[in-house]
Symmetry: C2
Subunit: 226 residues, 2 copies
DNA sequence: AAATAAAGTTAGATTAATCGAACTTTTATG
DNA sequence: CATAAAAGTTCGATTAATCTAACTTTATTT
């Protein structure tokens, strides 16, 4: 693995395509979506798709859908692994806030050294999840897939533990920080409001709190832990 | 500081020019020397010197010598600061060998985040020297200049402490590792052999050892500490 | 100091990544 | 289903970094 060297740009395309394919399993990964995610123009994406096809990292015919090959997917997963391990380092070791780690990890993920990542992982004690609750693939590319659902799906009376977020925008993360909700926080659903899909919840020593549907849609929870 | 963004390549040129100017204070920093250090051709260097002159990071007229401006020097020192802090991290925290840290730090030094470096420095407890004994500039660009000389200059009978190396090639560093000489090792010069400039030394519980002039020329020592 | 060598520069070409504008294909909609 | 809108592609151009080959300037040496 990791035999052929890719440019930062190529790596970013692979990662973007991987993530888009994951996110929208129903819809095809399209030129425009890639362009938007990578902040470039569709014409540039077309060129790059050609290039990556030649390198056998994805399959693609013009006007048709894009799909990563085994090799391309492996590369993408490895980049995600690096990204998430660095996020753990930034958050746990250097004490960066939840919302500050992404941009720096975006740069660090391209550092090229297998050894570095193995040792970093060991130093961090083999974390399974990053600070946003996203799973960190192991060195052989496997994800630890824990049972997760959104808070919005939770039944009344259920006790749950926050394991991640879907929205990772600073505004959302900072709001969570303000509420003192973080990974690991235990939440109980007191009531479901049928009218607007909002929920009344409590957590830790908090008073009752009404949270919007939009809010609860973006909180990932598990109830397998207790 | 650090207002304008430079490419990796530009940063590498600045660093190379800074280091060459430091090393050979007597001789001018020349196109060919830069080319050799950066592993590129002289013609490429000429182009880059023009570009960096336009950006006011150095002064240069064709066929004349190159000199960094205040701004260029600040940038270079900041890159060296990053490089050396990362080396400390790799060595102290991730337990990489003395000889393994350079290449990875060469990549990490280009990561762009003032905060990251400040926090890394704090995490590492504000180290003053990197694993090779080279001083780490502080955030305001100042070096802690300790009294240093080479082992070859040491008088008979003197006790000294290793504070760094001049040669950082893997073969030399690995030899030191084998001998169990590292930063901090205390050495006593038993005898100076006039014939070939070699020295007889002892350190820790070692037996007497004869080391060549070439060897002792590349060990930096201080006797200010005890 | 003239000739030769070494160092440095210029010019033209190449590769990677990007863009805008014009064009083509696919999809959606009346 | 014809046509307009959306999506995607092609083409020519640009910028950064690099090279080679030819040329110029500076340094060295007899």
């Amino acid at each position: 693995m990791a035999q052929l060297k890719l440019s930062f740009t190529e790596e970013n395309y692979l990662k973007a395509i991987y993530i888009l394919s994951e996110k929208d399993k129903l819809f095809d990964t399209s030129t425009n979506k890639i362009a938007e995610r990578i902040n470039t123009k569709p014409s540039t994406v077309t060129d790059m798709l050609r290039k990556l096809t030649l390198k056998k990292l994805l399959t693609y015919e013009k006007y048709k859908k894009v799909q990563l090959t085994k090799a391309g997917e492996q590369m993408a997963v490895f980049i995600i692994r690096k990204h998430r391990l660095w996020e753990v380092f930034l958050h746990n070791t250097l004490k960066f806030g939840w919302d500050e780690v992404h941009d720096i990890a975006e740069q660090l993920e391209h550092i090229n050294s297998e050894q570095l990542i193995l040792r970093l992982e060991k130093f961090l004690k083999f974390p399974k999840y990053d600070p946003h609750g996203d799973p960190i693939p192991s060195a052989n590319g496997k994800f630890d897939q824990k049972q997760r659902s959104t808070l919005s799906e939770a039944e009344k009376g259920k006790s749950l533990q926050v394991v991640g977020v879907k929205d990772t925008s600073p505004v959302f993360l900072q709001y969570l920080e303000q509420l003192k909700i973080a990974i690991g926080t235990k939440i109980k659903v007191i009531e479901r409001i049928a009218y607007d899909g909002s929920l009344v919840i409590i957590f830790k020593d908090s008073p009752q709190l009404n949270v919007s549907r939009k809010f609860s849609d973006n909180i990932l929870v598990s109830n397998t832990k207790f």
